[in-house]
Symmetry: C2
């Protein structure tokens, strides 16, 4: 895939179907409840019907995808954890001991981890796909994180994984990530996409001291001055990550297949924002989950035009918030598809 084939591919992604949206809206009015009493669940059900082109959406086949990659910028000392933790967490996902393992079980979703560029020995596990583009990105404080070819290849891997999942019946995806250093990447992407300053969109990641926090902002400021990325693809290539590129591909493929994607916290949302900047019509298929503690997340949600469904002060990544949103989307669809109408139930409608 080159950037021209990517453009051609994106041009066939269509927005949601307004006719299904209107039909769903009309049906919500005749279900056995006071009008609007299910609040945001009602609007969600209409948006999902319009995205899925059916008044009987089915979100029962659920998949949590975690894309993992290492970041050369960790050389700059911007993270509270050493880079090795990315690979160690991959082992933890494989062994079933991470938060997202427990959360996936709770919400009835399968979990698949995709190593797009972890800088460590290859591992083998039933829920792990190794599709390494490189052993981590380059240090973007000094040079672009990826070559154009690498970023396009990582996008393609995200697309391929989603295709595989769809071919086994998945209709609803939670998109998460693992990569020590990737909040630095997400802040740089957010600043570049929104025009906000790095200081406004940079947080303390997984728990930074004042000194490291200040240094993290300086690294991002300097990188954006160095690379001056203009287009979403340039931003991705210069200050992104392999797992972020793969998530961009995953979101595009979800949209292309008119399935439902849920973005997670800051990093997953940065990838969604890149996908929607590349292809605005992909937005119809991508839903917010939680509001992250990371300050840049608010700017991304605004760019994505989505309100989070809950705020539990989470900032873990791994797709944890997106997984927790699955029962809420399921509830929206279940009430919409399973409830009786006033006429069916012989109830006075007011």
């Amino acid at each position: 895939m080159n950037s021209l084939t990517l453009l051609a591919y994106m041009s066939q992604i269509k927005p949601r179907d307004e006719l299904f949206y209107q039909q769903a809206k009309a049906r919500q009015q005749i279900l056995t409840k006071p009008p609007q009493s299910l609040g945001r669940l009602e609007e969600l059900s209409c948006e999902i019907a319009a995205a899925s082109r059916t008044l009987q959406p089915n979100l029962s086949q659920r998949s949590v995808l975690i894309f993992a990659g290492d970041h050369g910028v960790t050389e700059e000392g911007i993270s509270a954890y050493p880079r090795e933790v990315t690979a160690q967490m991959l082992s933890n996902f494989a062994a079933g001991g991470a938060a997202i393992n427990a959360l996936s079980r709770t919400v009835g979703a399968s979990l698949l981890v995709v190593d797009v560029g972890v800088a460590a020995e290859r591992r083998h596990a039933p829920n792990l796909r190794t599709r390494r583009v490189a052993d981590g990105t380059q240090n973007f404080a000094k040079r672009p994180a990826m070559s154009e070819e690498q970023s396009l290849r990582a996008i393609e891997i995200g697309r391929e994984i989603v295709q595989e999942e769809i071919s086994r019946g998945v209709t609803c995806f939670a998109i998460g990530e693992m990569g020590i250093g990737n909040t630095t990447s997400a802040s740089a992407i957010t600043a570049a996409l929104t025009g906000l300053s790095p200081r406004e969109v940079t947080g303390r990641g997984t728990g930074l001291s004042d000194d490291i926090y200040t240094h993290k902002i300086e690294v991002i400021e300097a990188a954006l001055r160095l690379h001056q990325p203009r287009t979403p693809l340039e931003i991705l290539q210069c200050v992104g990550g392999l797992e972020i590129a793969a998530m961009v591909g995953a979101y595009l493929e979800i949209a292309s297949n008119q399935k439902i994607g849920i973005f997670d916290g800051f990093i997953s949302s940065a990838a969604a924002a890149l996908a929607v900047s590349l292809c605005p019509d992909a937005r119809s298929y991508l839903f917010a989950s939680h509001r992250s503690v990371e300050p840049g997340h608010r700017a991304l949600l605004s760019l994505l035009g989505r309100e989070p469904l809950f705020d539990l002060q989470m900032r873990l990544g791994e797709g944890s918030g997106a997984a927790l949103a699955m029962p809420i989307l399921e509830a929206a669809v279940a009430t919409f598809t399973q409830m009786a109408t006033f006429e069916e139930a012989k109830i006075a409608s007011s």
Copy 2:
């Protein structure tokens, strides 16, 4: 049961166990995630461990209980729906066509409807228990809603139902209600419990016109002047409802058995606030779900000392918000009980 045996019963309800709380807090620090990165899920897991007296809480057996009753105050024309809708909705619950049927299935909970005082022909259905104390309450604009005996009997029914559910293994309850006119009752209870004016705590229920809304407030003001209830039991008896009394009993029995109860929106929370006013130690066992659109709900949450987990602008009742909170509490427990520690997973802890 008389009011003295109720007092004796409540005196044996103990608060949560602080030792389990501290042990749970300590365990949260060594699980494979950055500290506090699971946000409110972490605190929830510790509170549930402390309430359940175990570091292995199990919320997998879940029950949604709906208590239903009619309200004499509907004679005053304070509701958008005719009183008959309470009974019609009971049929809808029995037939599986209501929102809460779909939501219970979504969250893996059983659903049981308890008719504590619906003013209609008796119905029979597998998920319906008929335990009528009266054919609805009296019109509290003119006389107390219930006699002392009736309110105590309804409390007892709530306790008995929870006992039955616990004896078949239920550990986690969502407490909901159905009763046309019961937002008027809940507003009166909230005003009486908090000292706020009826205007501050009265909303438009399931969609009232300006005229009916103003009248609803006047009815509540007049009723509180008429009855001048002082204690929680007097408030319940004078302006409460049979289903509200049964919910009070359900909450107390959940606390007495050290199980987990989730309150729903305005009416369910008014009953929880009565239960906690009667027995402050019951609070450890009762968890908030959503923030309702009803303006009085905020005052009740404050009295209950609980922050809602989400705000989806719901105002349906039926236990709908409480049911949706079940996967969130389950997620809190699942991450706590299933995650590996840094040592087990051989991960650098920072």
